[in-house]
Amino acid sequence: MDTTVANTGTEGKSWGGGKEPLKSSYGKMMMWFFIVSDALTFSGFLAAYGFSRFKFMGSWPIADEVFTHVPFFHGNYPMIYVAFMTFVLIMSSVTMVLAVDAGHHMKKSKVTWYMFLTIIGGLIFVGSQAWEWGTFIKGEYGAVQTKGGNILQFVDSDGKRVAVSEMAISVEDERVRHLRKNGLWFVEEGPLPVYTVQEVYNGLVAHPNVHIRTQDLNEEGEKTILSREESLTKLKREGTLVVHGANLEVNEYGASLFADFFFFITGFHGFHVFSGVVINIIIFFNVILGTYERRGSYEMVEKVGLYWHFVDLVWVFVFTFFYLV
């Protein structure tokens, strides 16, 4: 005898069950719900970025001056590489939707081919992002951090950036890195910066055409450049640390929060792309093995496709708020 009630006697009536008002399968609907919640997570991050940006409205780094590199090319090309990344991701979204379409027509070889292209697109994107991170972490010109945590950069009289290594004048320095063996055994110190603030100051004195550029934005939305005297006194009085590149503690491009949010948001997005690629690979092998052919439906391709498009959708917003606005 059945231990559960299979029939309620209400079949065919309004509340008898078996109705599908949304005309969508369980799996697809759950993917949509996941996407809604994940979208809220990302908007939380981006809104937090907006909060910090509003907070430092008058001194936020200008993205065009931060992301100017293109692999294999020297020179100043703002936006070009990130536009390429955006295009790669949109393109892989297109191959994904073509795979879904081929799945609806039960064309196995086409689905396989389009899934393969989607995976390649995803890998190119993740690789580009890794390269972008590498460039950002390495930095380019270097800068000096003040006691208040602000960044002082160096420009020549034409407003072109001057690297710290170009101007600093080395002096014999008795400051030795503190190690456990030559000091307190329970305290450690990281590697010392290549240049000390004193060396940078000597360099500034010796190069009469170099000025300090602060983070503050002027009326035209450009960074303020100090006069010679102001530059010298500011560096003398406030400089504490020479920084190169960006990490979670310091950022030669400006507010350290900018670097923190950059790593956090693009990192979280990159993690999504990476997991999307892994899921795509699993589905790709299932397609090759004929799992969905036997099942009679390629709906799994459609579900993973929804996730993949969502990753693209998030990138559209990250692109706008990190690189454009």
Partner: protein
């Protein structure tokens, strides 16, 4: 499985013969929008860098006017264009790539209205507070430049 697709975009002004064609059409459109964004982002036309109208001053009406017209009073036109174009792109990715166009109205509203409402709320709260803290810094209650 024969699935019905709606093949019109731009409110029916552009109708495609097959779903595949529609996908390529949407790709071309998204690429164009991205190119416009990148070109504007690189050249930053001077005319778009400053808000077109200054905030109204005076009583309640001025405050209400500032509130309703805040996107064009307090935002650079360039940034406004970027945000609008982003939402346009997001619309076509969701509607055509994610097939939202073919889902039932109830599913569509469930996803879109929930998201849009909560995101607007979040943005309002955080940007409002960020602006307040900026004012505190700017008026010199806290020293940041030393």
């Amino acid at each position: 499985m024969a699935q019905e697709h709606k093949l019109e975009i731009f409110r029916g002004t552009l109708k495609f013969k097959s779903n595949t064609q529609k996908i390529w059409g949407v790709l071309i459109f998204l690429t164009l929008v991205t190119i416009v964004e990148v070109v504007l982002g690189i050249y930053k036309p001077e005319s778009l860098m400053h808000a077109w109208i200054a905030p109204f001053e005076g009583g309640l009406l001025a405050t209400l006017g500032n509130l309703f017209l805040s996107p064009i009073i307090y935002m650079k036109p360039l940034n406004l264009i970027f945000i609008v174009l982003t939402i346009v792109k997001a619309y076509y990715i969701t509607w055509d790539f994610m097939h939202m166009r073919d889902e039932t109205g109830a599913l569509r509203r469930m996803v879109v209205w929930t998201g849009v409402f909560l995101v607007c709320y979040l943005i309002f709260i955080l940007l409002q507070e960020g602006g307040y803290i900026q004012g505190v810094y700017e008026n010199g209650f806290i020293k940041t430049d030393f």
